[in-house]
Symmetry: C2
Subunit: 405 residues, 2 copies
């Protein structure tokens, strides 16, 4: 073939799309179960919408270009700026809290690798207009509910939680100024993955203060973070039985988080995070929208797909049809089409060969399509207004009137 998909982009053949739709279906059901309404925004937005939030450096990861009208535009790399724009346009007239979710595809020009593509689907769940810990807790519960619907056991994953307010207080007590906080958090964020982060923390804070930070990472003083305790309690009430583990290393790189932050990992910690979220009370206002407290999370399809495949939870592809109608002679092909039309009008997925293949070949095709039954239209039965119904699993036949089908 002359052409291929671009690196990091995927063709979804029926089996691939079946898996994607299965995952999306859990996302939709978990969202709707909790009273979230679905929204969507444009795939293409003004470039400035994204740089306004994340600064110009994000542009190196964007699919950005000038359109034919001379506008600087970019494919969306995430949903939050679009959400802030939409809440800004309509939010004032809507009752609070606003509970929205979406299942968009995002585009990032990154090096493709395991669990990281240049185009991926992500479930986004957000709440606008509530300061209550129960709102943060519900978001965690909804994320876990979708994983349960996909067949994961509560113990297959773990939620690591933290709170940006406690982080700030703890760093202030260690005389880390507000101005230095982002830099220190950047190192804390890397402690797990990057061996140089710990010595760099020593360099930055001195051994004693760095030890204090490492101590917070080793044992979380939950008694000093009552906001986080309230979220954990409410999540338990919302039915969460998955471990909720306070962990000082979960800071969620982006600077805009203002409260609870959390990430879901597979229990074995072999994969990247399955989902991550937190509270971002200042962002909607900063993007030009109303001052509105907000929180949310994202869950991508790539890492999740790996975990589900590893646990052998991905279901088999659905059969293509339920019933195949087969004419024994070419003259009866039109009657077969009429029977197909009757079945479809009743919501039964049915088909008949377009041409006039031999019976054995047509039945083989019916089997390949996953049909449970074949309706065989043969001249002898047809004379009496009847057809043969073959159970393709059991192999048994039954002659029935067409009107009784």
């Amino acid at each position: 073939m002359r052409f291929q998909a671009l690196p990091g982009f995927r063709d979804f053949f029926p089996d691939d799309l079946g898996q994607r739709r299965w995952i999306e279906s859990a996302w939709h059901r978990a969202s709707k179960n909790a009273g979230f309404e679905e929204i969507d925004g444009p795939v293409l937005e003004a470039l400035e919408l994204f740089t306004a939030k994340s600064g110009p450096e994000i542009a190196t990861q964007l699919y950005a270009f000038k359109d034919r009208g001379g506008r600087e535009v970019a494919l969306r790399p995430e949903m939050t700026p679009t959400l802030a724009r939409m809440v800004g346009a309509r939010g004032a007239g809507l009752p609070k809290p606003i509970k929205w979710y979406s299942v968009p595809e995002f585009y990032r020009y990154e090096k493709p690798q395991r669990g990281r593509l240049r185009a991926f689907y992500q479930w986004n769940v957000d709440v606008f207009g509530s300061d209550e810990p129960a709102a943060d807790a519900e978001a965690i519960a909804v994320a876990l509910d979708a994983l349960r619907m996909l067949g994961l056991e509560p113990d297959d994953v773990v939620v690591r939680v933290n709170d940006r307010r406690f982080i700030s207080r703890a760093l202030r007590e260690l005389d880390v100024t507000e101005r230095d906080e982002a830099e220190v958090l950047g190192l804390v964020d890397k402690l797990e993955r990057d061996r140089t982060a710990s010595p760099r923390l020593d360099d930055r804070l001195g051994a004693s203060r760095a030890d204090a930070v490492r101590g917070l990472c080793a044992e979380y003083p939950l008694d000093r973070a009552p906001e986080l305790g309230a979220v954990i309690d409410a999540a338990r009430e919302f039915g969460v039985t998955t471990p909720l583990v306070p962990d000082f290393r979960i800071v969620r790189g982006l600077a805009y988080y203002t409260g609870p932050v959390w990430e879901i990992f597979d229990r074995g910690r072999e994969l990247r995070s399955l989902a991550g979220g937190g509270r971002y009370d200042k962002l909607v206002g900063a993007l030009g929208g109303p001052e509105l407290s907000a929180l949310g999370f994202g869950m991508g399809d790539a890492v999740l797909g790996e975990l589900l495949a590893e646990k052998k939870l991905v279901p088999k592809t659905q059969p293509r049809v339920e019933v195949a109608v087969v004419a024994v002679t070419p003259e009866l092909a039109g009657e077969a089409r009429k029977i197909v039309a009757r079945l479809r009008a009743r919501g039964v997925a049915a088909e008949t060969p377009y041409g006039a293949p031999k019976l054995a070949k047509a039945l083989k095709a019916a089997d390949a399509a996953g049909a449970a039954r074949a309706v065989i239209v043969g001249p002898d039965e047809w004379k009496d207004g009847k057809v043969m119904v073959r159970d393709l699993v059991a192999g048994s036949d039954q002659v029935v009137r067409v009107s009784d089908l």
Copy 2:
């Protein structure tokens, strides 16, 4: 608000998306009912994939740019090139016919106007590997089946059909050469919309031959187009009761059609076409894929949405939740969350206020969310392990055990 959606792009607020999902749901059901499997391809493809099919002039309508790796890429303006690429990659190993559908979004840099946006959703249904008229007929039947599912009556629309093979034969009989055919067809295509097309046809062919072409447009000689007659007959067998009107003016501009071509219009002919399709037997091979006969159609969401709105067929938005659980005192908010968790685990869409609003306010919010029932958790009943269930439509109350909910 500082930012807006780009011209020709849409924000989908919950009501908007509800309508889109309702339309898509009919597309999915009609496809699956007829044994079509869903596929999807990348939003972004190599630019050359699109110019190879439609020539470099299509580039003026494309969102095309150079990516950070220096590749010339473009947002997909249609599905056929991607389909041809995917059939080329896997088609050889798949049983024929291949029956695929998709519900992609497309992007075209055109002047936004009524029923024409720069980003729109389109249902695509294609069959690869069948030369039978019944295959063309099934495509028409599937398109109409979706319209029926959306509440349109068979007579609300009309399918205008033609056949490129008959067109070629008829023009050859009028001594229009194969080389001139495209130009003449371009004028025939414009006869309805462009007053200058008829005099230009005179200029091009002379009055006598132009009259002959106009005669074909006035009365279709179906007896001279048996291929089209076979499609019409098979469509009737597939249950189509919508008028199928042979019309010489339906040529489907694009040069690649090779057999039956058709378009669906609203009966009053007030809107642009709702759907259009045809057979394109040479295209897959021309795009570098295997030689494989093919046919298909596309149905967009924009014109269809207008017709459905005009006919008042768009359903009301679904309620956000079925049950609202309300704690009468702040101390019982946690118990309300536990009840919500129990209901959700049973697949009931339920929620409870995040904070502790007064009962009247909470019930008002429950009503606004569309809840049919409120579960009221009050201290008196709670002592006995009971709650009050209020029917928010009838206004009646019932005290039940929590375990019986």
